[in-house]
Amino acid sequence: MTKRFTKILIANRGEIALRVMRTCREMGIKTVAVFSEADRRAGHVLFADEAYYIGPSPSNESYLKYETILEVALKASVSAIHPGYGFLSENTDFAAKVTASGITFIGPPSEAIRLMGDKTMARQAMIKANIPVVPGTEKPIDNTGDALRVAENIGFPVLIKAAGGGGGKGMRIVEKKEEFMEAVSRAQGEAKSAFSDSRVYIEKYLEEPHHIEFQILADAHGNIVHLGERECSIQRRYQKVVEESPSVFIDDKIREAMGKVAISVAKSCQYLGAGTVEFLVDKHRQFYFLEMNTRLQVEHPVTEMVTGIDLVAEQIRIAEGHPISFKQEDIRHNGHAIECRIYAEDAKNNFAPSIGTIHHLFTPDGPGTRLDSALYAGQQVTPYYDPMLGKLITWGRNREDALRRMDRALSEFFISGIETSISFCRAVINHPRFQSGTYDTHFYKHFCDDLVESMMAHDEETFIAAAGTHIFSETKIHSSEQSAYSTASERPSNWVMANRKGLDR
């Protein structure tokens, strides 16, 4: 039996709330925004058909306060709630309570969220379902002899990780069997002094790993499809920065194998809606299940651009009880798409978050260019939430076209008043290793100095223009903002100018 949604509450903020609302409006569904104190003037509030206040600025008093959100949903008589990503999107209690109150939760059943949210449970379930996971010990090991046996089973290189804590303390990569015993005792020693716990895990060490994920959709009629992969290996501090599809690293054969496994993962947890199965792929192109994200992913537009499929529309139709609007064999992957995440942060200053008011804003547009954001000039960027301002996505007939287009689009993206990662993204896009497609998850770690340097570079003309304009603005001679061009006679050509020489540098 299918339902027909007439109004949807989006339990989220910023770009993803606006993204979901755009599709709702295209489907003739009214949209309800919720907002915290800091977000009264946020873009998602302006765009929504209805908007309700839900609490003070900190997330745990507003966007995470699901009782209030549910109360709003009931009073506003919505048919369904879309959780976006982050916040309550993977909260099993919320999903269960929404469903119990007679409102449709646009996402998988709370059991699937719970299973995939617990990494150990998920891993065990995957092993049971014959899904490849990174080989390693299930339980911490104290005995060095046991450890060696495990390591030999897994095959070198292996990674030794302290069971008692993180932060790299007690972590060791071991290349050969001969080095193993000494490495284990050292790791145990370090672990003991750091966490008062000498136990360690042994895990296969993946060389030059890639983070590649598959988008899947599952409906209530038993249909599950995958929409191909996204290559997400450009990361900084485990945060994705640039994503693309297709991945240049895998070929059609591996793609097909991974796609099948992604579908098996979804099947194994009775999945419903849109989800993402994340894999690690090593330099030998062996792939291992990493985790499943039981929600819409930040980087979903990359898949939308190459398939032409609106993932949010599919989510909504699936939640209404409809089958997926196409079959696996109908999907055509067309061209190449790249996404850059634009953060409010100062890349030159160790990526410190940047807050303030957006003074000037020029957004990129034109062929093959999409910007998912909720920005406008005059908007305040507050310290309360994730510093992502939006996502710029470009499409091209091939990777080179998409890349050149991304560089062009980034070049016309102008934000003043706060620091952003726009020029950092340009540096990434133009890095030779990104251009050639020969990168793995260590890209940022290896080339971070290159990137910062290329980001800071500017030519002499730019320096002179900046300096002159700054002096001009200080001297405030521009009282009359009249055009300087005389109507009576032609002004001397601008290009007839003295050659300039000799910049000190």
């Binding site: 978050p353 934000i415 003309e461 002159g468 304009t469 603005s473 003295a498």
Partner: protein, 166 residues
Amino acid sequence: MRYIIQSNDMKADLQSHSQNGDFSISMKDHDIPFDISLIQPNLYSVIVEGRSFVIAIPKLAGEEIHINGKNILLEIQDEIQIRLKEMGWEESVQKNAGEIKAQIPGLITHFFHQVGDEVKQNDALFLMEAMKMENEIKAPISGVIKKINIEIGSGVEKGALIMEIV
């Protein structure tokens, strides 16, 4: 007016001229006319020797100039500052440089040093959680930690004095 302007690896010694609404700068006797037009408050379209720039001039001193998608931080010495320097009088630019203040509200989660420790410029001082991310704050100058005003785990408002290096 004469200015010495510096940014990163570039430095220019120049004169500005304004006459009848026309503005130009000259460097080593070469005159460079500026065609400057305000397009939004604090935002200029600037054409210099044919090249077109869009330049946002920040409202606050010390902030970066935004130009064609790049940010440039300029150090500017005007005529008076240049003369003082030529006479051997350096301004004490580094005043208060050892006061570490919170740039944004956040939560202090870790200190790497104690009062009395010696630190070098760019040494990590403490970790601060803000906007859901952990930020490492580095020493702006070398010196000795004189004071730590905040306890681990406590939230700070923007502008709060966290520690002092002398």
